[in-house]
């Protein structure tokens, strides 16, 4: 596997402009001769499909939901960053770039991040032109807020539904292209494998989730916009159907998987309430702007009603440990601190895994009306789920897996190590390093889809001559046969356990050994437990029904099967990285006061894993990272 990031030379501020000039173009009249498969219809997939169709390419877009509008991008609440500097507060493209590199704990590729910061402004323009109803001030101009610990107000938002509004914007652009016939949409269709012909990604095998039949699609290029893999933990804030299958299948076909261990654990989620729990619900990070996080100082107080615990007996641990950022400390740091106090036995709630997020001080200072105006819908949501009224009693929160910075490795053109296979949005690894800042996921998904891929894919088409490939090609026969065989196997095991029970068990292993904090012993244990569980899966799974049918158990079983292999790659990656950085915290590598201890001398690289067969340790390749523009420094929020 050769890793050539294809980063343009020269000053970083000009690199995207000069690269755009140097890239080859496809003649407008010829664009319709090129077809693209886009898998996924979230922010990245929908925006890319629409933008490429507008240029003239023939696009086939696939999603497993009933409508492209349901992709999980929709659930993002907080906002989207851009370096517009409307509030006149000293922001700039450079500062957004700097913050993102620093926030990513110096494990991202500078050039990609700079480009992201650069195009961020176009995204806001584009969305407004599409009719995205961003929040506005009384003067009619756009409102901004500070989000996720940023020192400037660069976050644009639409009530608590920024993700939904941006996705609906991209979806509306997609609808327009579907309406004119330039995009063919395939809902309720799940990609089960990638077809590589002569070293180039040329098609996919898809299962129609209604009829259950396998279908073949061929194209000149394949784009994966299939999101992240947080559901490897079973309990996460991701939607239930989010999975790693498409990305993992591509990995098995030769795409390098980069930094799989970089997972973001979001600090403000509603704690688990019982074993039946199916997912965790995120409460917007914006709550930390006014809420104060605390636990009792004494273990003995943990069972008491929060109101009865005296001010002196409360430990506002974020304010204590990080006086300058306080409750707004970045996600990885806040999450880990919550885990620490709970591990000390000072967690609250029935499970002991929870901390208070208390608004009483803010309500006293600003009045309940102001708090209601700011967070009313979130408070309602909290009450709906827990039955508690957060105006009266502090919220209980606990961290939960939320976003995965790792993903398929891509070069500056967003192409993976398989020629023609492009990966965008959360599915790739490119921009967030080891930790993503709040309100940056939406930015990256749309940057890739609207403003990067539509350029770079043209360059790919114009740079080489492709032989025509149809779905009759032998490669399609082979891959479809393998897929059919895998489905047959899943259905024929006839054991006793459901796919969900395996998924839960895998999730527990991953959360305990490869979650918020990892150590060598635990990771090695996981590397024993996962293969054993996988073995049991293939012996003791039970999936009733048949393949050519609407079969939800079969859908889930296929996804769990891939998670069971992928989880091992994650653990290998976490084990290999003998340092702590961002979302990857190795307990062996911390400072005396418990902060992450990065090792830039030995680990200033992205780990890219190459598939070597099920159960075999994948091969590690390294893309070394250089920081010419942002000085490597200890990330301190004290």
């Amino acid at each position: 596997m050769k890793l050539d990031a294809k980063v343009p030379s020269g000053p970083i501020a000009q690199s995207w402009d000069s690269h755009r000039f140097e890239m080859k173009l496809v003649n407008p009249a010829n664009k319709r001769k090129f077809s693209v498969i886009v898998v996924g219809s979230g922010l990245a997939g929908a925006s890319a499909s629409a933008s490429m169709a507008e240029l003239g390419y023939e696009v086939d877009c696939f999603c497993f939901s009933d409508s492209p509008r349901r992709a999980h991008s929709i659930a993002a609440q907080g906002g989207i960053n851009a370096a517009k500097t409307y509030p006149n507060d000293g922001d700039s493209v450079w500062r957004l770039f700097y913050d993102t590199v620093k926030g990513g704990d110096f494990r991202s590729r500078e050039a990609n991040v700079y480009r992201l910061a650069q195009v961020s402004n176009h995204i806001i323009d584009q969305c407004v032109a599409q009719g995205v109803p961003f929040a506005r001030e009384y003067g009619g101009l756009l409102a901004n807020r500070s989000f996720g610990g940023a020192q400037v107000s660069r976050t644009f938002y639409a009530r608590g539904q920024t993700g939904q509004q941006l996705l609906l914007g991209a979806y509306s652009a997609l609808c327009r292209q579907i309406g004119v016939g330039k995009v063919k949409m395939h809902p309720r269709a799940e990609m089960l494998d990638l077809v590589v012909v002569n070293g180039q990604a040329r098609g996919i095998i898809v299962r129609n989730l209604v009829s259950g039949r396998l279908e073949r699609y061929a194209a000149n290029a394949v784009v994966l916009a299939t999101g992240g893999y947080s559901n490897v933990f079973y309990l996460s804030t991701n939607a239930k159907a989010c999975n790693v299958t498409a990305a993992y299948r591509a990995y098995k076909r030769g795409a390098g998987f980069a930094n799989p261990c970089y997972t973001q654990i979001h600090p403000t989620c509603i704690p688990q309430s019982g074993d039946y729990q199916s997912k965790l619900t995120l409460m917007s990070e914006s709550l930390r702007n006014d809420g104060r996080v605390w636990v009792p100082k004494n273990q003995a107080d943990c069972g008491k009603a929060p109101g009865s615990i005296a001010e002196n007996d409360r430990d506002y641990y974020l304010e204590r440990k990080y006086p300058s950022f306080g409750n707004l400390a970045p996600r990885d740091i806040s999450s880990r601190s919550a885990k620490e106090v709970c591990d000390e036995g000072r967690g609250i709630g029935p499970s002991g895994y929870g901390v208070y997020l208390d608004f009483s001080e803010a309500i006293g200072r600003l009045g309940q009306n102001v708090i209601q105006e700011r967070y009313g819908n979130l408070f309602e949501m909290y009450e709906r789920i827990t039955g508690d009224d957060p105006y009266q009693t502090p919220m209980r929160i606990y961290p939960a897996p939320h976003y995965t910075m790792g993903g398929l490795w891509v070069d500056y053109n967003l192409m993976s190590t398989i020629e023609g296979l492009h990966v965008i949005g959360e599915a790739n690894f490119s921009d967030h390093g080891a930790n993503r800042l709040g309100a940056s996921a939406l930015m990256q998904g749309l940057a890739d889809g609207y403003f990067v891929l539509p350029y770079t894919i043209g360059h790919y088409f114009a740079s080489q001559k492709q032989t025509p490939v149809t779905i009759e090609n032998a490669a399609f026969d082979n891959v479809e046969k393998e897929t059919t065989e895998r489905i047959r196997k899943l259905l024929s095991i006839g054991g006793n356990r459901t796919p969900d029970s395996f998924h839960r068990e895998l999730g527990r292993i991953m959360w305990n050994q490869c979650g918020m904090a990892r150590n060598e012993k635990g990771l090695r244990a996981a590397l024993q437990q996962i293969p054993a569980l996988r073995e049991e899966f293939w012996k003791n799974l039970r999936v009733p029904g048949c393949g050519e049918d609407f079969n939800i158990a079969l859908e889930h079983a296929g996804r769990v099967a891939d998670f069971l292999e992928f989880a091992e790659v994650m653990c290998h990656d976490a084990l290999e990285r003998n340092e702590s950085c961002g979302g990857h915290f190795r307990e062996e590598y911390q400072t005396d006061d418990g902060e992450a201890l990065r090792n830039d001398d030995e680990y200033c690289y992205s780990s890219v894993w190459e598939y070597q067969g099920v159960g075999n340790t994948p091969a590690l390749h390294k893309e070394s990272l250089t920081f010419d523009n942002v000085k490597l420094a200890v990330r301190s929020y004290k």
Partner: protein, 248 residues
């Protein structure tokens, strides 16, 4: 608590469906409704039976995938709540709970409680957008938009496309959904250019999909988990009439 669930089972689109009773003995009040169905499905799968298919995804009340008419009301009829956010504390020991799919000609049942809502997508394809290409757009602050207008647009844009309005309407009418789409754009300067044409196109597609007509009973408004107001329907009617009568 113990519950009897009376659930619509239908194997495929053209199959005949029926209500089937299931009994669950150990339902926790902290469970969500869908988690309760998960438990039932685990039980069915363990018995080698076909799991009950239902649409769901984000389970946070925003993706609009979940549906279900629970005890006769879409999403169970709790204010501003989607099915995935209904919790079992609202039910009592010994209750008989009926669970049905959205029922509409335009939303054919695919299996059990899963219906095909692509009719909504096709309505959107017909004109549910501002016709701008990627790139070349003016600065986001080039056109100020009065806050109250932007707020109204946002009220309409809150629609999650779940289809509860259609499910609740005695005529299976899609007017609230379609008017919310039209409403979002008509209150923004970017959407005004195509305002009347959009109304004509969306209404034509809505009619073609086989939704019923509106009889202003406002069950849609009552069922909407995002509190979309039926006054958007009046606005749509106005645009539709204006588009037909006053446009050249």
């Amino acid at each position: 608590m113990k519950l009897t669930l009376r659930i619509w089972r239908q194997h495929h689109r053209t199959a005949k469906g029926e209500m089937v009773d299931y009994h669950l003995d150990d339902v926790s009040e902290h469970m969500s409704f869908l988690e309760m169905l998960d438990v039932l499905n685990e039980k069915l799968l363990a018995e080698g039976k076909d799991a009950i298919a239902f649409d769901h995804d984000c389970r946070e009340g925003i993706c609009g995938a979940c549906s279900l008419v629970i005890n006769g009301k879409p999403h169970g009829g709790f204010p501003n709540t989607t099915t995935c956010q209904v919790h079992m504390r609202h039910f009592n020991d010994g209750d008989v709970v009926t669970v049905e799919p959205w029922r509409a000609n335009a939303f054919p049942v695919l299996k059990d409680l899963v219906v095909d809502r692509t009719a909504f997508d096709r309505v959107m394809h017909s004109g549910g957008f501002v016709s701008v290409n990627t790139g070349g757009t003016p600065d986001a602050n080039a056109i100020p938009i009065a806050k109250n207008e932007a707020d109204i647009a946002m009220d309409a844009a809150a629609c999650i496309g779940c289809g509860a309005c259609v499910a609740a309407c005695k005529n299976a009418s899609a007017m609230l959904f379609v008017s919310a789409k039209i409403g979002q754009f008509r209150h923004l300067p970017q959407g005004k250019v195509e305002q009347l044409d959009r109304a004509k196109r969306l209404v034509a597609q809505m009619d073609a999909e086989g939704f019923g007509a509106c009889t202003n009973t406002y069950d849609c408004e009552g069922a909407c988990p995002k509190s979309i107001s039926a006054t958007f329907i009046a606005e749509m009617n106005r645009d539709f009439l204006k588009g037909n009568l006053c446009e050249p």
